[in-house]
């Protein structure tokens, strides 16, 4: 555990990829195979099934440490991390042992899962009495299935390829598909380079994704983007960006988060398998029904299932809408202008596509005004707005640095999102943040008035938000909360706050929700502005918010 805890600490502290890879290389070159296999599984996102819940751990920790549970709760408010709090308040081990990672996972967590509570408790207490603070911290993350670490699969691959002395592409290939975290598997990963071929193996990596800049205001378009005819306009889909790769007779589907999604969409892969070797398409994964995308939540449901069942297949058909082609018959197309890439893409999809693989249509408009008109209907179509791509632009890397006003086409891609809903709300509850912001009140609940006008009736919450303020503003709000607390929420560190501060809250969507007291749920709420010019009675009413809902539902219904 010491070695793995050290690795975790190093990964956690470093921000540069070179440092992270170096830490991984140090770990993998020294760890025994049975531990390394588990470490790799954890680093690439596998979870150990949760063996006990928070309530149990809290109670046992209170008993073991002698501290009342409320004091552990107060500590949680200051620390912001459950696993860390428990690791810090528990006494040092009386029988210290450097348990191996494999022993902690298989010998303790996995094996206790099938036993009853008294056995679990004995196991946990025994483990506490052996591990030091850092070891306990990792143990808690694992046993509660909350272990996460900021390492992409690609970084792990890079480190492993260095340790094994094989090409990165080959290591990547070895890691594809299903595998079990066993010593045998790890040893086979570490075998010398495979013989045959050109010795390089097949490169399964996606190209770096090209990203769009946000268009902040509409006036910018008229002044800077030139004639609409130089631009390709498409819907901005609300799905998962991905690259579909066909090489050496096999298909790989990557998300923008460099996650390999190949096995999650077997139906899509059947279609993609028809693509010629050396094809890479950039596009969007969407849950699709009756000619329009379904809400993102439906897609997410499907993504979270590793092996989707037949039922889910039928429920949520997933399609790939391609909007760019990066490689044709092994040739890198990215430097070619978009108009050429588009022509190639349309040809390929016409020949090899199908119901599940289509191009993302180009919106043909004669003027910016006509495009703006289309954009205003985005919500009815379940899209986020419009993408603008200059027809001469190359496919760049990441978000281009240049946003030069005099050369907006150099920026290549722009996203022109539909305007968010805006509601003036009153801050009523503040909670401490987590991680970086653990000791500050940074997470807020916002409410509107139930009466016919602002200031009338009571305040009912409609959104929680924690982003959108500057650090300076957060400090001011934090100070306000500390001075104007009127009560505390039960459990956790929530504070009821005098309803005096007004914020303009922006959100992307709104839905009826019987689970919420207000009857509505908002999507992606964030603080747009602190309305220091407004008093709380000038905030909006629930009637106004429900009016937005009515609009949304009506328009969706008509055009569905």
């Amino acid at each position: 555990m010491k070695r793995f805890a050290q690795l975790f600490e190093e990964l956690d502290a470093s921000s540069g990829t070179a440092d992270k890879v170096a830490a991984l290389v140090r770990y993998f070159s020294s760890a025994p195979a049975e531990d390394a296999a588990w470490a790799l599984a954890l680093l690439t996102g596998r979870r150990v099934k949760r063996a006990v819940n928070y309530t149990q751990l809290y109670a046992w920790a209170a008993e073991t440490s002698g501290y009342p549970e409320w004091l552990i709760g107060e500590s949680h408010g200051a620390v912001g991390d459950f696993s860390e709090v428990l690791s810090l308040i528990l006494p040092p081990p009386t029988a210290p042992a450097d348990l191996s990672l494999r022993e902690v996972i298989q010998g303790r967590i996995v094996s206790m899962a099938r036993h009853e509570e008294t056995h679990k408790k004995a196991m946990v207490l025994k483990t506490w009495d052996q591990l030091d603070q850092r070891g306990k911290f990792i143990f808690h993350k694992l046993i509660s299935a909350t272990f996460r670490v900021g390492v992409s699969r690609l970084l792990a691959v890079r480190a492993l390829s260095q340790v094994a002395g094989v090409a990165q592409e080959e290591m990547d290939h070895r890691l594809m598909g299903e595998w079990s975290p066993t010593a045998e598997f790890y040893r086979s990963l570490m075998r010398p380079p495979d013989e045959g071929g050109d010795g390089r193996g097949v490169n399964w990596n996606p190209y770096p994704f090209f990203l769009a800049h946000q268009l902040e205001d509409t006036a910018f378009i008229g002044e800077n983007l030139g004639p609409v005819a130089q631009w390709q306009a498409e819907w901005k889909w609300d799905g998962i960006r991905g690259q579909l790769i066909k090489r050496a007779g096999r298909v790989a589907l990557w998300s923008r988060g460099e996650e390999l999604l190949t096995e999650r969409f077997p139906d899509l892969l059947e279609t993609a398998d028809r693509l010629p070797d050396g094809t890479v398409l950039d596009g969007e994964l969407l849950a699709w029904e009756n000619g329009r995308p379904l809400p993102f939540a439906d897609l997410q449901h499907r993504i979270n299932k590793r092996q989707p069942t037949g039922l889910l297949f039928a429920d949520v058909p997933v399609i790939f809408r391609a909007y760019d082609q990066l490689e044709e018959r092994g040739e890198d197309l990215r430097a070619r202008p978009l108009r050429e890439r588009r022509a190639i893409l349309e040809g390929v999809v016409r020949r090899f596509g199908g119901p599940l693989l289509q191009v993302s249509e180009v919106l043909e408009v004669a003027s910016w005004e006509a495009l703006a008109e289309l954009r205003s209907g985005s919500r009815d179509r379940n899209v986020e707005g419009i993408m603008l791509k200059h027809l001469d632009s190359a496919y760049g890397v990441g978000r281009t640095k240049t946003t030069l006003i005099d050369s907006p086409q150099r920026a290549g891609w722009w996203k022109w999102k539909v305007d968010p809903y805006l509601v003036d709300c009153v801050l009523t509850v503040a909670q401490r943040g987590s991680g970086r912001r653990a000791s500050l009140f940074t997470d807020y609940t916002f409410a509107v008035w139930t009466g016919p006008q602002g200031g009338e009736g009571e305040l009912v919450p409609i959104a929680k938000a924690y982003s959108g303020l500057t650090d300076q503003e957060i400090l001011k709000v934090d100070a306000f909360v500390r001075e104007h607390t009127t009560g505390r929420l039960q459990g956790g560190g929530g504070r009821l706050v005098e309803p005096r501060l007004v914020f303009e809250i922006a959100f992307e969507g709104i839905a009826a929700s019987p689970r919420h007291k207000s009857g509505v749920a908002t999507r992606f709420p964030r603080m747009k502005r602190w309305r220091t010019d407004k008093k709380s009675e000038e905030a909006d009413t629930l009637g106004f918010v429900k009016g937005l809902l009515a609009q949304h539902v009506r328009s969706s219904g008509v055009k569905g």
Binding site: S65, A78, L475
Partner: protein, 369 residues
């Protein structure tokens, strides 16, 4: 029971003695527990402090306090009005004192801890618990998650970190408060690894320690020349605001990220979130305040029937003590709820203490008043 000390809008006030303890507004008689600028300000008519505390005050405020300080050696008694005052080592920084106040006729005795720590740091006068009826304790780190490792262990970690950096040709830089923490670290660093250098803002306090007779290794002010001449083996101590500043990056060659390893030494570094949001390479949990166990054991050692809790985790400590059957009460301070409101008679140099640090963390570079 008559309250010997109470909170007023100027600070903690002893009416029977006609003096204030660490007042934040100008008063005629100020008893100063220690030289951090959230406790000591200029502008009072008369000061009372320990003799080494006076050395620190003179170093920090110079002419602004010249001729105004009465030094009272630890343990000596002095009468003020109806009370007798004595000062006792608090172990926080050089010259830091607990203030003992005894009512001359009734014998009722209160002790105000000021900031204190129970570990002997080797450079300040070690903490001594003082028997009393009422003990007013600070509670900056008054939660059980704060449990310090022995200083020798933390310094061994810091030296190992420094050595690894030096071997890799990276200059090391540790953020630390100018008064107390910096000198404590100087005394614990291993000078065989490389030269120890400091930011200019640390010089006056360091000189005060030497003047008071504390033995410290040679420490020169860091310049581009001295840092580069050490080719990556130097350890530079600097106030928190300077560590990610152009000053720091200009000290090293070529690539500031590769050539400079940064860390912070503070009790807050006990918590992972606090380490992360500092965007430094590492953190060392080294505090000049008592940890949870230090607070609880000190309370026991005073034998006090009644405990006032101030400065920090007031609510949890009061509740915990009351549940243990003690009589505990909150002593509000100006700092509660006034995030980063530090102004007053500071010398303008980067200074501060863990109190402000909590709020300063989010601001990153500009965190210190």
């Amino acid at each position: 029971m008559v309250a010997l000390v109470r909170t007023t809008d100027r600070g903690l006030f002893c009416e029977a003695g006609g003096f204030y303890i660490d007042p934040w507004k100008a008063v005629s008689r100020a008893v100063i527990t220690h030289g951090h600028t959230d406790h000591a300000r200029w502008g009072h008519k008369r000061y009372l402090s320990s003799p080494t505390g006076a050395v620190v005050l003179n170093a920090r405020f110079g002419r602004q306090v010249e001729g105004l300080i009465d030094a009272l050696p630890y343990g000596e008694r002095q009468r003020f009005g109806d009370v007798v005052v004595s000062l006792h080592p608090a172990g926080h920084v050089l010259g830091s004192a607990q203030v003992r106040v005894e009512h001359a006729s009734s014998g009722e005795t209160w002790v105000v801890s000021g900031d204190y720590k129970t570990q002997d740091d080797g450079v300040s006068e070690p903490f001594e618990p003082v028997r009393c009826h009422t003990f007013i304790t600070e509670s900056t780190f008054g939660l059980p998650v704060y449990a310090w490792r022995p200083q020798a262990e933390v310094m061994a970690k810091m030296n190992a970190w420094w050595r690894a950096n030096a071997d890799a040709g990276r200059t090391s830089m540790v953020a630390c408060y100018a008064l107390g923490k910096a000198q404590r670290i100087m005394a614990g660093l291993d000078p065989t690894i490389g030269p120890i250098l400091m930011h200019g803002a640390l010089a006056r306090c360091t000189a005060a320690y030497r003047e008071a007779g504390v033995k410290l290794p040679g420490v020169a002010v860091a310049t581009q020349e001295s840092v580069r001449a050490a080719s990556g083996r130097a350890m530079v101590l600097a106030p928190p605001s300077a560590v990610r500043s152009p000053w720091a990056f200009n000290l090293v060659k070529r690539n500031a990220v590769k050539d400079l390893a940064t860390a912070m030494a503070s009790g807050w570094m006990q918590i992972r979130g606090a380490r992360r949001r500092r965007s430094l390479d590492t953190g060392f949990a080294l505090s000049d305040h008592a940890d949870w166990h230090g607070i609880m054991s000190s309370i026991e050692a005073t034998g006090a029937e009644s405990i006032g809790v101030t400065h920090g985790a007031i609510g949890p400590v009061v509740r915990f003590l009351n549940e243990k059957g003690k009589h505990a009460f909150a002593v509000p301070t100006r700092w509660e709820g006034e995030a980063g409101a530090e102004e007053g008679g500071g010398t303008g140099e980067a200074d501060g203490d863990d109190h402000q640090e909590e709020q300063g963390l989010l601001l990153g570079e500009g965190g210190d008043a």
